[in-house]
Symmetry: C2
């Protein structure tokens, strides 16, 4: 796309499931895998693949620990992830403002 | 996904290119194919396939006319498209409000 207000829409965040993950990690700071899966209604495989995209972009950290004998996967947003998410949200706000202008008479 | 604020994110509109098309059609009422292609920096094939998705959903009307001898394709949002776009924008606003809450201490 040319340089325009849609450029601020980072495709790494924009996919609906990843927008959900980043939003929840912004509100909750840390979320375990099961919580994200339930909140977003995703399958394990689907959530796992979106988490990998965000991890590879450096937007989230993934920690594997144990709760007793059960493995536990915990995600949190990195500083880069928080700042990219903030920029993404600002981009959405610009689009919303544009979409709410009165229509041009042509 | 479970019933949650992300449900308002209509995937037909959410794809970046289609969000661009719907935003431009909201502002300009009518756009021809070349204008959309330039504004959004898409290839002809790519724009064509996104336009077909929106047309098949009933969100836009596509009219083929002639400007002199040159064929001209003009798009406009339908009433359904406008109302679904409005609902989508309201969904984004909810996500933005959630993302701007102070983080929960856990």
């Amino acid at each position: 796309m040319n340089e325009n207000i849609f450029d601020a829409i980072d495709e790494t965040i924009h996919a609906k499931a990843r927008l959900g993950i980043m939003s929840l990690l912004t509100v909750h700071q840390q979320c375990d895998f099961g919580f994200l899966r339930n909140e977003l209604g995703l399958t394990e495989g689907n959530l796992g693949s979106h988490i990998r995209v965000l991890e590879q972009a450096g937007y989230i950290d993934v920690a594997k620990t144990f709760a007793g004998k059960r493995p536990r996967t915990t995600c949190s947003a990195t500083q880069l992830g928080r700042s990219m998410f903030q920029r993404y949200i600002e981009g959405l706000e610009k689009i919303i403002r544009m979409a709410q202008l009165p229509p041009k008479q042509e």
